[in-house]
Amino acid sequence: MKKSISIVCLFLLTSLLFAGGSQENETVPAEAAESSEAAADAAVEEKILNIYCYDSFASEWGPGPALAENFTAATGIEVNLMAPGDAVTVLSKVILEKENPAGDLLIGPDNNLLARVLAEDVLEPYNAPALAGIADELKFDDTNSLLPFDWGYFAICYDSEVLSNPPASLEDLTKGEYAKSLVLMDPRTSSPGMGFLLWTRAVYGEDYLEYWNRLAPSVLTVTESWSNGYGLFTSGEAPLVLSYSTSPVYHKMWEETDRFKALEFKEGNYLQVEGAGVIKGAAHPEAARQFIDYMLSEEGQAIIAVNNIMMPAVGATQLPEAFDMAFISEKPLLLDKEEIAAGEKDWVQSWVEKSGL
């Protein structure tokens, strides 16, 4: 009995798969025709918008659902949030389906991913009117393919109940009093990890490995993701962690504690700007542009800042008091995208082999 059921099940399942496959072949040309029609006449565009974003942006506690709800209420356009993983996975998906894009808008790649976005040519430039209200140093893409919507610095955060004398610079971090106190992330698997590597590169140039070797005794461990590292920090395992300048805002706003603080360093802090862009060949480019406009509006910027815990890109945005916990650096650091694209792999490889960790 079981055997025959299993065989029937299997054939049903496999035939389902094949059925899906053959239907797909039929629908592809139809979709293509539809998209060319849409491009030809934006006025009759369907009232749908497909957005690719990273998972925590689309989550119940992220800005995605609130933005989508308000946008639909205002324009009548149905929003479909698709989040197959973190920012890198989402970008991979958009690159893989370059020939036949399923999404209209891509939300998430930061300044460190810009070179890859431009090299793969997956986005279409959009000169949004709201760009006028954004500070020049945040406009990290001069082609306007990726438009900045929020930003922050990578920063070392500390637990003020454990450390009375926090470090004030990258140099301070190497002091003996911070032995085994710092949690970092691996640049091979995490974007803050990559950000910190670029930060040391921006400050120390060719000598960055020498700095890492001096830093090694202070490092407790190197985690594969920000989530894991920050978890170690809040559970009290280490008093120092690599995170964002805006991290304390969360604890202030939702946990009413100013125990955790971000440190502004003398050498400057490395900048992270997150961007959104219209996907090339999208079926609904006009809706995508409207959504970008909404993200950069006063209301949209406030929702993003509060729910994503990042600084809004538009300078004039009204923010809750808790955002005073995030510092504004005197010296924002940023490496040139060509320099990153050319050197990144070698820097990481040398770091793995010679950082002393």
Partner: protein, 571 residues
């Protein structure tokens, strides 16, 4: 007359055995091809291509690089050590579970499967809260020894990697060894005892050789699991000096989108695991014993004092290693630090905040909780049913039919165990590109993916048991008129019941804990409990994540106890 019948019958059986088993496994292989081999092969073959032209240059670069050679050697040796340790620790437990009857056994069995369902982030967190510098163990030791520095420095070293791997894999060893041991008879032991052999001699000359196939089979799974290890090695090892191949595959394929080098490295990794799986399967088949199943369990009160003490000591060890970190996660979800320096207080704050987070005007969170529970349970039980159906059919064919390439065929079924989840995930991304599978409901594709991932566990639990059923028992049943399907249902399935239960528990646990494939295949449209945990952690809500982790553990325990209660289903 009777002998003539049976001789003729044996002949016909032999003829039947000659028929190719590969053909009968075709549906299973087809299923694996579509849900596993196609997406994986697509990605691995990119390691042999450069701008559309076939080339071995990536492969050559990887093999000749001393850096990757070093990582390979480390990956291999840590996996081997972890496997040996897990087996060693699982052996006494396997004996206790299979030979002794004691109260709370079902719950204990259910508890050991928990490491599987927790997302690795929560496991690592539990480890640090328990073993860490400010963790439970060190706080206790510091109080006992009146020191103010951490006493035990376990974490951020090679020791910690081994400890975590034992934590994860000891349950596999325990369950698979117990399931195997349950099927072993003790008439050889009785005979040896009558002949005056010492217990030690009996253990080393009879029990151990009998157990070997079961241990090798459990060991092969554990080895592959440790070989693929990723977050645990990096975080608990303390940094890049302990990197595994999986970290590098992640770096190249997922982070740098370097499909050439990444594909080549994944190809090397897969070739290694393929060879290992094949090797183990061949070894296992050579040492197969066909034993009878007569068996009675000793009640706890009849055990000797020394055995009792030994068993108790062993339980304490398990509680510390396995449940210490898990219990810490659970405890953390009920604790709130109200004042800066005061002791933490009992509170349901993190549970309340999960249902209604502060400052939120939307009721989405409560709905997510309900949705994710429903999704997790639906996916879990569908996977369980599908995996057991496919698994029992496949292991039955493997045990009853003759194969031209039997080792290879089994390896093909076991292979999902030895392929990195990054490769599988990116393969799915490729298959799904442009909404190509848009017409298949995401729930179905997730169930299929979970089934592929869980199938090796079910196969490991079932195949050895299926092979051990003695041919003469089947011949007898056939002579008595119970052929084919009836024989399968009334004789073979009940005989492999421990394997079915153990495999089913693993399948459910794997499905309940899986994140990567679920996220990619549904575009996050089918939230499960682990996905909700991931989202909580990704937005600073660590304690609410612990709370949801606790809920996941409770759901799981309930489900496992339900599965184990099927123990008496044939009566």
């Amino acid at each position: 007359m009777r002998t003539a019948v049976s001789v003729g019958y044996v002949k016909s059986v032999k003829e039947e055995l000659k028929r190719s088993g590969e053909l009968r496994l075709l549906p299973v292989l087809l299923f694996l091809f579509l849900t596993f081999y196609l997406p994986v092969a697509v990605l691995l073959l990119k390691g042999l291509q450069s701008e559309g032209v076939w080339t071995a240059s990536w492969l050559k670069e990887i093999i000749l690089s001393p850096y990757y050679r070093r990582i390979f050697v480390f990956t291999f040796s840590q996996a081997l050590l972890s496997t040996l340790l897990s087996l060693l620790l699982g052996l006494p437990g396997g004996w206790i579970l299979s030979h002794v009857e004691f109260p709370g056994k079902k719950i204990l069995k259910a508890l050991t499967t928990i490491p599987f369902i927790l997302p690795s982030i929560l496991v690592v967190l539990g480890f640090i809260l328990f073993w860490g510098r400010q963790g439970v163990v060190n706080t206790l030791l510091m109080k006992l020894t009146r020191q103010d520095q951490p006493v035990l420095d376990v974490l951020y070293s090679f020791k910690a990697i081994l400890l975590a791997h034992v934590f994860y894999n000891f349950p596999i060893a325990l369950r698979l060894i117990a399931a195997w041991w349950e099927g072993l008879g003790d008439n050889q032991h009785q005979a040896a005892r009558t002949l005056g052999a010492s217990e030690r001699r009996i253990f080393s000359t009879i029990t151990l050789p009998q157990l070997l196939p079961g241990m090798i089979s459990a060991g092969s799974l554990i080895f592959l699991y440790c070989f693929m290890s990723f977050a645990v090695v990096l975080v608990l090892g303390g940094g890049p000096r302990y990197s595994t191949l999986e970290v590098e595959v992640y770096r190249l394929i997922k982070y740098s989108l370097d499909f050439g080098r990444g594909g080549a490295l994944a190809l090397v990794e897969t070739a290694a695991t393929l060879f290992l799986t094949w090797f183990y399967i061949r070894r296992e088949r050579k040492t197969i014993h066909r034993e009878s199943l007569v068996k009675s369990r000793i009640p706890w009160k009849d055990l000797g004092l020394r055995t009792k003490l030994f068993a108790l000591g062993y339980f304490v060890l398990i509680v510390i290693i396995i449940f210490g970190p898990i219990l810490t996660v659970i405890a953390q979800s009920f604790l709130v630090q109200t004042t800066r320096t005061g002791p933490p207080e009992l509170s349901f704050r993190w549970y309340r905040e999960f249902v209604a987070p502060p400052g939120s005007v939307r009721g989405n969170s409560a709905r997510l909780l309900a949705d994710s529970m429903r999704n997790s349970l639906f996916l879990g039980f569908s996977t369980l049913l599908l995996t057991l159906t496919i698994g029992s059919y496949a292991s039955w064919v493997l045990a009853r039919y003759r194969f031209r390439f039997s080792g290879l065929t089994e390896t093909v079924i076991m292979m999902p165990m030895g392929v990195s989840s990054v490769v599988l995930g990116m393969g799915y991304l490729w298959i799904l590109r442009g909404g190509r599978l848009g017409d298949i409901p995401p729930r179905l594709s997730i169930i299929l993916a979970h089934t592929v991932i869980a199938l090796p566990f079910v196969m490991r639990a079932l195949t050895p048991a299926m092979r051990r059923i003695r041919q003469n028992l089947l011949d007898a049943s056939r002579l008595m008129g119970a052929g084919g399907l009836r024989q399968f249902i009334s004789i073979e399935l009940p005989l492999v019941k421990p394997g079915l239960i153990s495999g089913g528990a693993f399948a459910l646990a794997i499905s309940l804990g899986e994140i990567n494939a679920t996220l990619i295949l549904s575009d996050a449209g089918v939230p499960t409990i682990p996905i909700a945990i991931l989202r909580l952690i990704g937005t600073y809500k660590f304690y609410s994540a612990c709370a949801l982790g606790t809920i996941l553990i409770l759901i799981c325990l309930g489900a496992f106890i339900l599965i184990d209660s099927f123990e008496g289903w044939e009566n």
